[in-house]
């Protein structure tokens, strides 16, 4: 089979999946640019592309405030997760110590538990410290639930960095801390950046914790804000909802498309090592 025939055959076989994947994007985009009068009309092509919908949506849906909340929560959660994960991943990949296995099992179990399973207890924890509607509480919960994934990814990358340089530094009597900062971390920067971005994306998209902990609209993150435009309403302004979903989704999708090969590698390493 020549490469050309194979390409045609593969694309034909993949085409149903491609359609299913691209369909929601098409729906989102086309609805977002429809004039209001045509929104409830299920035509594929609007009579005119109404770009002003995006600007109107921004004002009508309180998009800006929710965007800031989301940036704040995801940014802080990513920083905290990364800061606590790097030393842990370093310890797991470079030290043998009693309890190492137990710590890995603990991470594994905490990775398996999604917040929804613990949501009643989480709510009580946050309520007990008086932080309902607080973005900081959501930030800490995100950081805790993303730590396992982050340590796991980082550790699988760290294991691929040769130990020789660090051993040389130890021989030169550098302290473990100096070795970590001066020798190891510069080599690990790409892995850390990639892991941090994945943490950011996962917190950016989180739903259950935000839905439970954030009760006032002023504290809503983007997924909750957009969900609130749809849930329990008689009239839904779908062109605004789709415009908001589009703006919230596309930057992350582009970032992700660019980084997905790192994920393939990191997961493949992590899954077996």
């Amino acid at each position: 089979m020549s490469k050309l025939t194979r390409s045609i055959l593969y694309w034909l076989l993949l085409s149903p999946l491609v359609v299913v994947v691209l369909f929601p994007f098409a729906v989102m985009f086309i609805t977002a640019i429809k004039p209001q009068a045509e929104v409830l009309d299920p035509t594929w092509w609007p009579s005119a592309a109404r770009w002003a919908n995006f600007a109107e949506m921004w004002r009508a849906t309180g998009f800006g405030a929710a965007l800031l909340n989301s940036l704040y929560v995801s940014g802080m959660a990513t920083v905290i997760t990364t800061v606590v994960s790097i030393p842990a991943a370093y310890a797991l990949s470079r030290y043998r110590f009693a309890g190492r296995g137990a710590f890995r099992q603990f991470l594994l179990v905490s990775q398996m538990l999604s917040p929804i399973v613990l949501v009643v207890g989480l709510f009580r924890l946050v309520a007990a410290v008086g932080l309902i509607d607080s973005l900081h509480a959501v930030t800490m919960v995100y950081a805790a639930f993303n730590t396992a994934f982050s340590v796991w990814m980082l550790q699988s990358y760290f294991a691929t960095i040769p130990k020789d340089l660090e051993e040389a530094a130890w021989i030169e009597r550098a302290s473990p801390f100096q070795t970590l900062i001066r020798v190891f971390l510069p080599l690990a920067v790409p892995a850390m950046v990639v892991t941090a971005i994945f943490t950011f994306i996962s917190t950016w998209n989180e739903f259950v914790v935000a839905l439970t902990m954030l009760r006032q609209q002023s504290a809503y993150t983007l997924p909750i804000q957009i969900f609130s435009l749809v849930a329990g309403r008689y009239t839904v302004e779908w062109h605004y909802v789709m415009a908001a979903a589009f703006v919230a989704t596309i930057p992350v999708a582009i970032l992700f498309a660019w980084l997905q090969r790192y994920l393939v590698r990191g997961l493949a390493l992590g899954a077996v090592k």
Binding site: R6, L108, Q260
Partner: protein
Amino acid sequence: MGRRATAYCLILPSFLLAAFIILWPLKEIVNLALHDVNRFGLLRAFSGLANFRALFADPDFLAALWRTLVWTAGVVGGTLAVSVPVALMLNGDFYGRGIARVIVMLPWAVSLTMTAIVWRWALSGESGMLNSGLQGLGLIDGNIQWLAEAWTAFPMQVLIGVEASIPFTTTILLGGLSSVPDELYDAAAIEGAGAWDQFRFITLPLLRPFINIAVVLNTIYVFNSFPIIWATTQGGPANSTDILVTYLYKAGFRLGKLGEAAAVSLIMFGVLLVFTLIYVRLAMREEAA
């Protein structure tokens, strides 16, 4: 400072953070599940297994339990059936492979909430673009109210679940395929093995550990998955698309039955622990091999 002490200092911050935010709620849930709890969350008398008994006497819970099984099996099975051939193709050499990979991975980048909201709109009866698309292709005559009844809503939710799970599964399988050395295929081709035999005797056995891991991890994720069902139907109409997580959420935050909600959490925790043990055994076998 000894090396061992250093190691403990390094893992301590992550351990404290995760332990506090995961173990403390877990302790709360155990407490709630074993007590009579009023709707404001005040613990009253110790009630043993009364909350669990109440659950198993509730036909809605039993229906949700059964539906969770169908949901998990449907999404995980459907995902695998699509992902294996897709991964095999994406691992091959063809024009436009880079674009194909990006498209297949794309749903991963979109939050489940957004995916579900967009589908909810696309599936709407009168204004939905799925109906108009299918009519345009001549596949259906009238409008279908996809989300108005469980027998059309639930299968669509399973399909959305499959769509959302394909990228992760394909990623794991591609990782597995990239570890199969090309020489094996060359050798097999010299021996006269056809494409099907190569798949059966080389690819599949080498891919099996990755398939196992993908199945277990997907089972865990899908079993836990909340946004797809919540953002499309909120478990309705009349609780007919509830799975355990939506039942749990409603019990805890709508009906004020915190004790029963906590009991559902504990049941789910038990099931997840079993899945995790299976995963650990599979992963260890992999490490030993």
